[in-house]
């Protein structure tokens, strides 16, 4: 049983197209199921492999929605999204998504260590149990985020910042190449901010791609290669005096497979 790999979802995972950008979004229109209005319209975005992108906007601007669409959580109404050159969902073992903290049921009886372990599930699929190596990876990530001493706590016993670190550890445990981070620094303590900033720097050095949704680019702007400003589900020009995204001025060269 241990050798058989039955992936979640309908397709077997593939590696993606070499040289394709990590994420390519073209003329995307998307909305929540059941809602008549579009939550996003006319979005274009190209995130080269190994680069760092920020999605900036206030609450309700569509940042989280765009991340969700890239993560495959939202149906596309028109336009296209390519992840590593393939349609959404084909390469999802290479994509880690860090949800906002409110998306989880923190009262559920599961330990921090086990929460982090769920980052390995995409590589396990049906029937296979986590191996010793999977547990070791989970422990290593807990260590990296400085919460190894909290490993056996029930997840609801953690503070907000610690919960964010646990989610981050889970995203890292997936060992993905593309990380979609929804407000990772929202309402966390300075200590956690520092730990997460360090981990992001390390990931960048390892050549990982990440897209971060934030309403406060302020102290982070030096750490990004591009920023996409959103308002009311549309792309908007950067506010005067703010960080201008060099990559946005480039033409999109790669055009999908």
């Amino acid at each position: 049983m241990q050798g058989l790999y039955l992936p979640y979802g309908r397709r077997r995972h593939v590696e993606g197209t070499p040289d394709a950008p990590a994420v390519l979004v073209r003329q995307l229109r998307a909305g929540h199921p059941g809602a008549d209005t579009d939550a996003l319209e006319g979005i274009d975005l190209s995130v080269p492999s190994g680069s760092r992108a920020a999605l900036v906007g206030s609450n309700g601007a569509g940042k989280s929605t765009l991340l969700k669409a890239i993560a495959g959580l939202l149906p596309i109404r028109s336009g296209q999204i390519f992840v590593f050159g393939k349609p959404v969902g084909v390469c999802h073992q290479r994509v880690a998504y860090l949800p906002q903290r409110g998306d989880l049921d923190w009262r559920f009886p599961v330990s921090v260590r086990r929460l982090v372990l769920t980052g390995r599930y995409v590589h396990l699929g049906w029937l296979r149990r986590p191996s010793r190596a999977d547990w070791a990876i989970a422990d290593e990530m807990l260590e990296q985020l400085g919460i190894a001493d909290l490993a056996d706590r029930q997840i609801g016993e953690l503070s907000g910042g610690q919960q964010q670190r646990a989610l981050f550890a889970r995203a890292l445990a997936q060992q993905a190449d593309l990380l979609l981070l929804d407000e990772p620094l929202n309402a966390v303590d300075t200590n956690t901010r520092e730990v997460i900033a360090n981990v992001l720097e390390k990931l960048h050095q390892q050549g990982k791609t990440f897209i971060i949704a934030t309403h406060d680019l302020g102290r982070l702007e030096a750490d990004f290669d591009q920023a996409l400003y959103l308002s009311g589900g549309h792309m908007v020009p950067p506010p005067p005096g703010s960080f201008v995204a060099p990559a946005l001025q480039q033409e999109i060269v790669w055009t999908g497979s």
Binding site: P7, Y8, G9, R10, P33, G34, A71, G72, L73, G89, H92, Q93, V95, Y97, P99, D103, L104, D105, F108, P109, V110, S111, R114, L115, T118, Y121, V122, L124, W126, L127, R129, P130, Q154, I155, R170
Partner: protein, 271 residues
């Protein structure tokens, strides 16, 4: 100890004891998910909608279990289908459906001349479990145990973080449908023990009691099982010696366990 062993000379007591233990195990294990996923209302709805299935089967002279299983699974799939659409709020839709189905069951019962034949459906009769019933209960118990073990990590993940499950391609609603179908089967098994009206107590109370005492999922499942099986046995003996309704005695034993656990927890946290 003679009072414990003496009743077991009767074969209906032996059958009843095995049945109550298996039903307790099944309902307690699933009940943990019912409580943690806040599906208590659905458990209640499922047990009620089984009634018209039972009555139709009775009126037509079919096998009662078959009628109940069909009604239960249809309801489970119906609820699953409703929850994917968003025109009507899920709890509203369930509320409309289950009261309607239950009323249909009552209406059909009222067409039967002797209500007594059907009263055991409403209130359960663990001492009247037949060999065929017992086989069904055993199969359901085995199925539930196997599914919960094989899909443990998926059921756990979709329960507390359905978003992550969707991101990795694991459909949370598929797991939910599996759980609902198992619940329908467990409810049919539970009806033998405590009847239509009280089956949801067997799902909710032992698991809720266990949740007061531990915050580890496997431990919660073991505790809930111990409570449900223990209460079942207590109820069975109470029914034998005092000639009271076995279903009510079983449920009241569960309720007593909950009260004790709640007191215990209150005292412990106030120290």
């Amino acid at each position: 100890m003679d009072w414990l062993v003496a009743p077991l000379r009767y074969s209906f007591m032996q059958t009843g004891l095995i049945a109550v233990a298996l039903v307790g195990l099944t309902c307690a294990l699933l009940g943990v998910y019912v409580v943690l996923r806040r599906m208590a209302f659905i458990g209640d709805a499922l047990s009620h909608t089984v009634l018209p299935g039972l009555v139709v089967a009775y009126l037509r002279g079919w096998n009662l279990l078959t009628g109940a299983v069909i009604a239960g699974i249809l309801t489970a799939l119906g609820i699953s289908w409703l929850s994917r659409r968003s025109e009507v709020r899920e709890d509203t839709a369930i509320g409309v459906m289950f009261t309607g189905m239950f009323a249909l069951g009552i209406l059909l019962i009222s067409t039967v001349r002797s209500f007594r034949d059907l009263s055991h459906m409403l209130f359960g009769n663990i001492l009247g479990v037949t060999r065929g019933d017992l086989i069904f209960i055993a199969i359901v118990a085995a199925l539930v145990v196997i599914v919960l073990i094989v899909f443990h990590k998926e059921l756990e993940l979709t329960s507390f973080d359905p978003t992550h499950a969707e991101v990795i391609g694991l459909r949370a609603d598929t797991l939910r449908t599996v759980l609902l179908v198992l619940l329908a089967l467990a409810v049919v098994a539970g009806i033998q023990a405590v009847g239509v009206v009280l089956t949801s107590a067997l799902l909710v109370t032992p698991a809720a009691t266990a949740a007061l005492l531990t915050n580890r999922l496997p431990r919660m499942m073991v505790l809930a099982t111990v409570i449900a099986v223990g209460s079942g046995i207590i109820g069975l003996y109470a029914s034998y010696y005092f000639e009271v309704s076995s279903g009510a005695a079983i449920v009241l034993s569960c309720t007593a366990c909950f009260a004790i656990a709640w007191l215990f927890r209150t005292i412990r946290t106030s120290q």
